[in-house]
């Protein structure tokens, strides 16, 4: 614990900014609730992303000014949003046809655990007293063309989130393509986790120490 507090990785905003650089112009994107929502603040100059929210809006815009929200114009996190020019509303079966039918380019999600084969756990601790709630996460990972995970590299108690095999209940099997953590950008490959980029000031050995599965270096 004392060692991990000395490492200064990317902030959440920097993670979001780094991830946004990898989204091609014109992409249809679904941003998960929480940290992934930050990505919308860092759209690179000259690019336009069209945001999908599974409760029935394509072309979602930023939050309105305080007090100007419409309770019937919300995102999947049930927060007030706006609709950009060119937006469309639709019902839930159409919304998930977009998701499951492979029409969305990218889903950005948070994670509790990611395995070296790309399994994702992000919906339940599996504890007997937990109220299970899944929402649209299982549909997103099953249907969207690419799945990026944005997460702190370790849990608050210092346990690795990138592991050989998930111990929490799965959201999907072999679904994660790339991970943006506070320490590194890591691809999920047929050979396991591959570090493609390290946060400046963080070395490979440090990331490996905080990862529960073997890491491959970028150029190997």
């Amino acid at each position: 614990m004392s060692e991990s507090t000395q490492i200064k990785g990317w902030s959440r905003e920097e993670m979001a900014q780094r991830l946004a650089q990898d989204i091609p112009n014109g992409s249809y994107v679904n941003l998960g609730i929480g940290i992934p929502e930050l990505v919308a603040r860092f759209v690179p100059k000259g690019r336009t992303f069209i945001y999908h929210t599974e409760n029935g809006l394509l072309g979602m815009g930023p939050s309105p000014a305080e007090g100007e929200g419409d309770p019937e114009l919300i995102n999947a996190g049930k927060r007030h949003v706006t609709a950009n020019a060119g937006a469309a509303y639709f019902h839930h079966a159409d919304s998930f046809a977009m998701i499951r039918g492979g029409h969305l380019d990218l889903s950005v999600l948070g994670a509790m655990q990611i395995s070296q084969t790309g399994d994702l756990a992000n919906w339940s601790t599996g504890k007997p007293d937990a109220i299970p709630a899944v929402g649209g996460a299982m549909d997103l990972v099953a249907g969207v063309k690419q799945v990026f995970v944005m997460t702190q590299h370790c849990t608050k108690t210092g346990d690795p989130k990138l592991v050989e095999a998930c111990t929490y209940p799965l959201t999907g099997r072999g679904v994660v393509d790339r991970i943006y953590s506070d320490l590194a950008v890591i691809d999920v490959t047929p050979d396991g986790f591959r570090v493609t980029e390290l946060c400046p000031g963080v070395d490979f050995k440090t990331v490996q120490e905080r990862t529960g599965a073997p890491l491959l270096p970028a150029n190997e």
């Binding site: 929210t53 599974e54 409760n55 029935g56 809006l57 419409d70 309770p71 019937e72 114009l73 919300i74 049930k78 609709a83 509303y89 639709f90 019902h91 839930h92 079966a93 919304s95 998930f96 998701i99 499951r100 399994d119 339940s124 599996g126 007293d129 109220i131 299970p132 709630a133 899944v134 929402g135 649209g136 996460a137 299982m138 549909d139 099953a142 249907g143 209940p169 799965l170 959201t171 999907g172 099997r173 072999g174």
Partner: protein
């Protein structure tokens, strides 16, 4: 002459019997037909199965129906919402059973039910705990799960404008599950802020065609769940 209008929410829900299954539109508070739900609380039906994305917030609307111990089963994708304390207590006590369904699977089960499709295969939830007990099948090298269409005795939904034939328009993201639920229920009951004469809605813009709707009630100024919660209202 076809006229599906009824004078009050109370009359619209009067025949809902104990043990009925009821689809309730809404995603969070957006599209939640609060006045119809409150009329159902007043009416007294119990042992209900509710199919809805969430389980309500605060002590009003769907949460109030649960709090009154009228609902013994929910079929739902996300029974955890901010200010949602009623369902967790009933669930832990064992009074209300939960069938947890991924959101897209819930929407598609309702769509299928309304479209006369008894079952379908989906890639969602393969390899997860929610695949347990479901029939797997491979198509083109990928695994899918068998899911069943879902129908109900009643659907309670909220629109902005409806006409006497039951054609309905919605507001923004308040549309969500309502159009598919309207197709999947034996009796679909719509509350709308404005109820007008047939011919007064452009047929090109109609979202739910009247064939899917049985009863229409005008609720001119529907309340929003968040406003009631902010005022500290507890229904009834």
């Amino acid at each position: 002459m076809i006229d599906k209008r009824l004078p009050s929410a109370a009359e619209a829900v009067a025949d809902i019997a104990d043990g009925s299954s009821i689809m309730i539109g809404g995603f969070g508070e957006a599209g939640s037909p609060i006045e119809l739900i409150h009329a159902l609380i007043d009416q007294g039906a119990s042992d209900l199965t509710v199919i809805s994305n969430n389980t309500g917030s605060g002590q009003v609307g769907l949460a109030a129906l649960l709090k009154e111990r009228r609902v013994t089963k929910v079929i739902c994708s996300f029974p955890k919402t901010l200010n949602s304390t009623v369902f967790p207590e009933l669930y832990r006590e064992g009074f209300t059973e939960l069938e947890l369904v991924p959101q897209g699977t819930l929407a598609e089960r309702i769509r299928a039910g309304g479209a006369g499709v008894p079952a379908f295969y989906t890639p969602t939830a393969v390899g997860t705990p929610l695949a347990e007990g479901k029939e797997p099948r491979e198509f083109n090298g990928r695994e899918y799960l068998l899911e069943y269409g879902l129908t109900a005795d009643y659907a309670l939904i909220k629109g902005t404008v409806a006409d006497a034939h039951g054609n309905v328009l919605y507001n923004k993201t308040a549309r969500n599950f309502a159009p598919v639920m309207a197709t999947a229920a034996e009796i679909t009951i719509v509350q709308a802020a404005r109820v007008i004469e047939p011919g007064d809605i452009d047929p090109e813009t109609i979202v739910t065609p009247g064939i899917f709707v049985d009863r229409v009630v005008q609720i001119a100024e529907p309340v929003h769940e968040s406003e009631l919660i902010a005022e500290g209202v507890s229904y009834p």
